[in-house]
Subunit: 466 residues, 2 copies
């Protein structure tokens, strides 16, 4: 396991918890189990326990808690579903974790405007179940059933981003409790605006370091008239990637294009009880009118065939589609389940698509020299892919080896003008890489952080060290 | 004319211009004509002259100039094409205007990645001419042949935004000279990234108040296989807007949907020598494969017909299309040309689309009580529309009347959860409205401004007063 950088942890000041209890009553918790749950991560980071956990029920409560934390100089960490992968909510300096999971009301849906406003604790799947009857859906799908607030804070994306964008494009406006304890709204509900600095986008991806997001106004989309999915395996990785590049060049608006390598297909077959060929595979989803979906399928089928694709298995049956995407969503767990007792360790580079095949091939060559089991899968339309390692948590040498592989992978991606993180954020784990990637721009981020959170209390120790 | 808020204008310190000349040589200008050109606006703002104008030729020169300005505490204003509409480049405190118009190199085009990098002074039309042979285009079209740097700085959009987004979505990365004189790059060339604060989006729309953008990496699109345009006039405004709302509900990816009221159609007919019916009119453009464009046209034609539209005149002939969009691009000048010697004054609200018809109808009722000639046109798919007034520059009472109408219009839009500016920015003219719109969020903008530009030298007096 990786120990996070812990600095400067102080005990809570006397009387602080009494003041917190005056705000949230019984929803203040100091038991070890609940603190452990809020200090642990789904990946390889060692847990660090907060001093206390509260479940907030309103923006006003969050504002009151923030004011207490600032007055007493207690670190404060917002917590959603705990599904982030870079230790993004690990309270490295202790303090108060504010769990927003019970702030899960859907505040309003504006059907005609294709938008809705939700509290930060609403989960992605919950929202889509709610919207279904109105013919609407929220497209961002990172796999995990994350909260919308958490997805905003890490600038999440996932399988639909190639067509529908990321959280950056999906959000119209945020309600944020600032480090001054004020409640601001970063924008109105108009589709676009040129009104001053883009605080909405500044907060998206800030990982809770500049304030706490309590409400989100989201862009929605109409459920397409027709949806088809397809699976196609390839002899070569290059054939698969070329199929994707050519589809994008022809402006086929594919809703999802995912790549899974042979090892990942093997893991998925075993875990999700499927029998797909265990070769490099593309999964597709197409959205549109019946006729237009048909046209997209035909175009991509032809491209796949021209690039050495095997049979192009497509279906418009919802049950086939569900089976396919359920397997894709379980891929992370499938990869880890290959090895009993293993924990997951995920990379997250994203490169210009012209360099993607090269980046994956070189990475596969690097992985071939390692004894740690790994698989590759990715959002290939965006140039973003993940290596999932199934690590023995009791073998520090495996951790070091994987760290070295990831360092090489990040340098490879940066050499191709890519990024160290397509969608997981910096958190604890990628702070060195952020500096390698953006250099002096990180100093400007620090200026902003110091101006907005001068006491460094909001999710301290994340993204960069001040 | 409207006098900008001028504050605290100091003479240039002795020796400053010699140091500037050492950087740019003969490209330093202090003549009145060139200073007037860089201090004037296309709209109703009184000119304010900079003390000097330089034409920069490289990022390194801009960095050297910025260091001089900061050392001598001289205000510095970046200048593109001067086509902004809110006095965004008026040097209200004098100082040095850096004209980036000669930094107009297209640095690279990555055809396979659908992106390019350009210097800030590249003009929109120049870029599209350059890209045409490669089958690519840059979709953001604000009408004016603005520079890409200026469009980034005002978060411009225009007629294609309903399909392709605004400058916010169009930019992958920026090269910026910071107030510290450092050159930063805000992101790499990957399609998406979760690496730290979104400095790219913070700089987009900052109107040069946080640094000077010198290079922009843009997302491009493939020139569609087929393009059709269409014109349809309507008896009622509501019929036109309902057609648009229903098209969006059916997820028809219309590339452009513009609305022009009867007065604007009259002005366009006269100015561009056309003979369209002088009624509320929608202009459309459809992009895609031949078959898909046909499908889109049929869908929208049916919707228009169901909403009381007259004949749906569509064409796939390039010359018809050019004529139509040339008229649309000339609409601003056509509106002003209605009245000899008039100057333009443009509003810019944007509202949720469900409120658009109501907002336009109420605005038309308000305009009916005014003797100042005006027309309405707008990017109706985004909920953004403009009233263009043709004002007598020698009649202060007209200016006051128009200001009062605009105040009521902004309050009406804010009451509908809209914004005071969809695409022109705040500049000098909308600072009160920004506070009405975003309240305490403006304080957070000020914190950021003070942190990044502590001496308030970068395009001072814009967006807000510090």
């Amino acid at each position: 396991m990786t120990a996070p950088i812990t600095i400067d942890r102080k005990p809570l000041p006397p009387g602080f918890l009494d003041e917190v209890r005056a705000v949230v009553g019984e929803r203040l918790h100091t038991g070890e189990a609940i603190r452990l749950q809020h200090g642990s991560s789904e990946t390889h980071y060692d847990p660090v326990l907060p001093d206390a956990v509260v479940f907030a029920h309103s923006t006003e409560e969050v504002a009151a808690l923030v004011k207490l934390c600032v007055a007493h100089e207690v670190p404060v960490v917002p917590f959603g579903a705990g599904t982030s992968l870079e230790g993004n909510v690990t309270p490295v300096r202790g303090g108060l974790t504010i769990d927003l999971g019970e702030m899960n009301a859907i505040v309003e849906v504006n059907q005609e405007d294709f938008d809705c406003t939700v509290q930060a604790g609403v989960r992605r799947e919950q929202l889509n179940e709610y919207l279904r009857d109105q013919g609407l859906f929220f497209p961002i799908d990172p796999g995990a059933n994350a909260t919308i607030g958490g997805m905003a804070s890490t600038r999440a994306s996932g399988t639909n981003a190639v067509r529908y964008g990321t959280m950056r494009e999906a959000i119209l406006s945020l309600k944020v409790v600032t480090p001054e304890g004020k409640v601001i709204r970063t924008a109105r509900r108009a589709r676009k605006s040129a009104a001053g600095y883009d605080l909405t986008r500044l907060m998206i991806g800030a990982e809770g370091t500049l304030g706490i997001i309590t409400e989100i106004t989201l862009r929605l989309h109409g459920i397409p008239e027709a949806i088809s999915s397809a699976v196609c395996s390839f002899e070569s990785l290059k054939g698969a990637v070329d199929t994707v590049v050519q589809s994008i060049q022809l402006a086929v608006p594919v809703a999802r294009i995912e790549i899974l390598d042979a090892a990942q297909m093997r893991a998925c077959n075993a875990y999700s009880k499927l029998s797909y060929p265990e070769k490099t595979t593309l999964l597709f989803e197409f959205h549109g009118s019946e006729r237009y979906v048909q046209e997209q399928v035909e175009t991509v089928r032809e491209l796949a065939s021209g690039n050495g694709g095997d049979e192009f298995l497509w279906s418009n049956l919802p049950e086939e589609r569900s089976k396919l995407w359920k397997a894709r969503h379980e891929a992370y767990y499938a990869a880890i389940a290959q090895r009993t007792g293993a924990i997951g360790w995920t990379t997250d580079v994203c490169v210009p698509i012209s360099r993607l095949a090269e980046c994956i091939v070189e990475t596969q060559q690097d992985l071939a020299g390692s004894a740690v089991p790994s698989t590759i899968l990715g959002h290939v339309g965006d140039g973003n892919f993940h290596v999932i390692f199934a690590i023995d948590p009791h073998a520090p040498e495996e951790m070091h080896e994987v760290e070295a592989i990831n360092d090489r992978l990040v340098q490879r991606a940066l050499g191709m003008d890519g990024t160290c993180t397509g969608e997981h954020g910096i958190g604890i784990g990628k702070q060195r890489h952020l500096v390698d990637e953006l250099g002096d721009a990180v100093d400007m981020m620090r200026l902003i952080k110091r101006a907005i959170d001068p006491k460094d209390l909001f999710n301290p120790g994340k993204i960069f060290q001040l």
